[in-house]
């Protein structure tokens, strides 16, 4: 089943850069500024966490912890414009820690009862079990493919396809040249197209 393409339409020209938001978070103790960074990158962080933790609620917790850690270590971020890559590495570490903690927990639980459903899809996704299973597989493959991209490519993909930024807006947010952004987008597309070719052939589900 096709879902509606969810994009947030940008308010043109008023979007502050990552670096600006980082600085505002730090210097003015501006919660809104950090909130905007959370809004901007929550999808990316969640996807990374989900890819590693493989369970929606646990991934959500890891995503939350990622942002809390990032906020508290913000002062040690030397290049604010590198926020996305830095955040991405915190996300990975946090998710890996969460996943290993979960492994311990489930080992213990294996002795007792551990029948709680573990699903990478959010609760509320209902329908034909077969369709859901295919969807799980597709999401899982997409997360894996995106996760394998270098961090800057990954954040470009999220800003473009999840947040609906144009290349110009991504360049503005990340402080890079627009040529760099478009070439990243082109290359990310080529890589993803190749990696996900079999799914595309079957038709996206």
């Amino acid at each position: 089943m096709q879902r509606e393409l969810l994009v947030t339409l940008p308010d043109k020209g008023v979007r502050p850069s990552d670096a600006e938001l980082v600085q505002r978070s730090l210097c003015e103790d501006d919660g809104d500024a950090f909130g905007e960074l959370v809004e901007r990158y929550k999808g990316m962080v969640m996807a990374q966490a989900l890819h590693i933790v493989r369970e929606y609620h646990a991934a959500e917790d890891a995503a939350q912890e990622t942002f809390v850690k990032a906020y508290r270590s913000l002062s040690s971020l030397e290049r604010p414009e590198a926020f996305a890559g830095w955040l991405s590495s915190i996300a990975r570490n946090t998710a890996v820690t969460a996943a290993s903690a979960k492994k311990h927990a489930s080992l213990e639980a294996a002795v007792g009862e551990d029948d709680a459903p573990r699903d990478i899809l959010p609760p509320g996704e209902t329908g034909d079990p077969e369709v859901l299973s295919l969807r799980r597989e597709t999401v899982s493959r997409v997360l894996a493919a995106v996760d394998e991209l270098p961090p800057a490519y990954r954040s470009t993909v999220f800003l473009k396809y999840l947040k609906g930024y144009t290349c110009a807006e991504i360049a503005e947010a990340t402080g890079e040249k627009i040529g760099v952004t478009t070439s990243r987008l082109t290359r990310a597309n080529a890589v993803l197209r190749e990696k996900l070719a079999d799914i595309a052939k079957e038709g996206w589900r």
Binding site: L5, G43, F67, R72, G85, S88, L196, W204
Partner: protein, 389 residues
């Protein structure tokens, strides 16, 4: 018809709505007549739609931002990793406290370039002479700002400063600092009293953002984050001594040593690595022992000549008109000055030799950075390092 090769690169951009006007028309026209490009275009369009929909499907649930901000504001102890919170509170408070100092330090740096100081290369846009947090200042690099009389600098945790693509702009600090006499450097987690020291200091973020910054950093930061620790300041002493206070402890660092300030008692997880790098530093120190001994000898000889010259100057002033004797004295002075200068030249060469050994070791392992962006010379000397791009 346009070449497929060029068109192919544009297909993802067209499919993602990044092309318009004639270029978009050209690509569309080509795709209309070229089966493989048409197929690729439709695949890219499908991919763009699918990515948006699938990634949106697994976004965090409602009120995620509120939950994050709530967790951030939650009082100590209510959150998860206790260590993280303990560590985090400290630098953050320090940054807030340092914010006022940023302006002072920045004023000092750039005011001096406008009045009395010399801006050798690099300039602030619009000849600004004050720097405010949150505002961007463009500086051409490499920039050297001469700053006579600087005896201290706030260099670290200045997150209001950053350096980007050859542009200095509200950077946090990693720096070289050279002090002629004693001076004090404060960071969020250490205070160092430096005596005739040349040091590197850096407090940096973690993980991928800093890949390429340094071997030590690449090793330590991912671990620091995995353990929920903040990243401590790194201090490397090249010359002189540094008395470091941090986390309630004190330590005297001599040339060739480095340490991380971190308030945690007991051994740190970096100890093994620090020992390994310190072994290299020791090796470099041994390698340069002969040169350094010669350097010291030449320094004392040059100082002796300087004392003699000072004596001559006094005598000359006392003679007051005795032309024959004063001409003779002047001649001797010239000779002594020439010998002194020759010694100083050798000193410079020795310093370069020593620096070469250390530079190789450190640039490869510890400080793989871009060129110096900003240097302050005089009795204080600081270089802001451009790194990681």
């Amino acid at each position: 018809m346009a070449d497929c090769g060029d068109i192919r690169k544009l297909l993802p951009l067209l499919a993602s709505g990044e092309l318009d006007g004639e270029l978009a028309d050209d690509v569309r026209t080509h795709a209309a007549g070229c089966e493989s490009c048409r197929a690729a275009l439709s695949e890219y369009a499908g991919l763009a739609r699918a990515l948006g929909a699938l990634l949106a499907a697994v976004e965090p649930g409602k009120n995620f931002e509120d939950r994050v901000m709530g967790a951030i504001l939650r009082p100590e102890g209510a959150g998860s990793a206790g260590r993280l919170e303990r560590q985090a509170r400290r630098p953050y408070a320090a940054v807030m406290a340092a914010a006022a100092a940023i302006v002072v330090a920045a004023l000092m740096l750039f005011r001096s370039s406008g009045s009395g100081g010399e801006l050798v290369s690099g300039k602030l846009a619009g000849n600004e002479d004050t720097i405010k947090a949150g505002k961007r200042y463009d500086v051409e690099v490499p920039a050297v700002v001469r700053l006579p009389g600087a005896s201290f600098a706030w260099l670290n945790r200045l997150s209001a400063f950053s350096v980007q693509r050859g542009v200095l702009f509200l950077a946090s600090g990693s720096c070289y600092l050279k002090t002629a006499a004693s001076s004090t450097v404060h960071t969020a987690d250490m205070t160092a009293e430096l005596a005739n020291a040349r040091v590197y200091m850096g407090t940096q973020g973690g993980g991928e953002a800093h890949a390429g910054t340094s071997g030590v950093m690449d090793y330590i930061f991912p671990r620091a984050f995995a353990e929920g620790r903040g990243v401590p300041t790194l201090l490397v002493v090249f010359e002189g001594t540094a008395d470091v206070r941090s986390g309630g402890g004190r330590q005297r660092l001599k040339a060739g040593k480095f340490m991380f300030a971190d308030g945690l008692p007991g051994p740190t997880p970096y100890d093994g690595y620090i020992a390994a790098v310190n072994r290299e530093v020791d090796a470099a120190t041994r390698k340069t022992a002969g040169t350094r001994a010669q350097l010291e000898r030449y320094r004392s000889i040059a100082a002796e000549y300087e004392r003699r010259l000072a004596g001559f100057r006094e005598q000359l002033a006392a003679m007051d008109g005795n032309t024959e004797e004063s001409a003779f004295l002047s001649e001797r002075m010239e000779l002594v000055a020439a010998v002194k200068e020759a010694h100083e030249k050798r000193i410079g060469a020795f310093q370069e030799d020593i620096a070469a050994v250390f530079t190789v070791e450190f640039e490869e392992r510890v400080m793989r950075t871009e060129k110096v962006a900003l240097a302050v010379e005089g009795s204080g000397e600081a270089f802001v390092i451009l790194d990681g791009f």
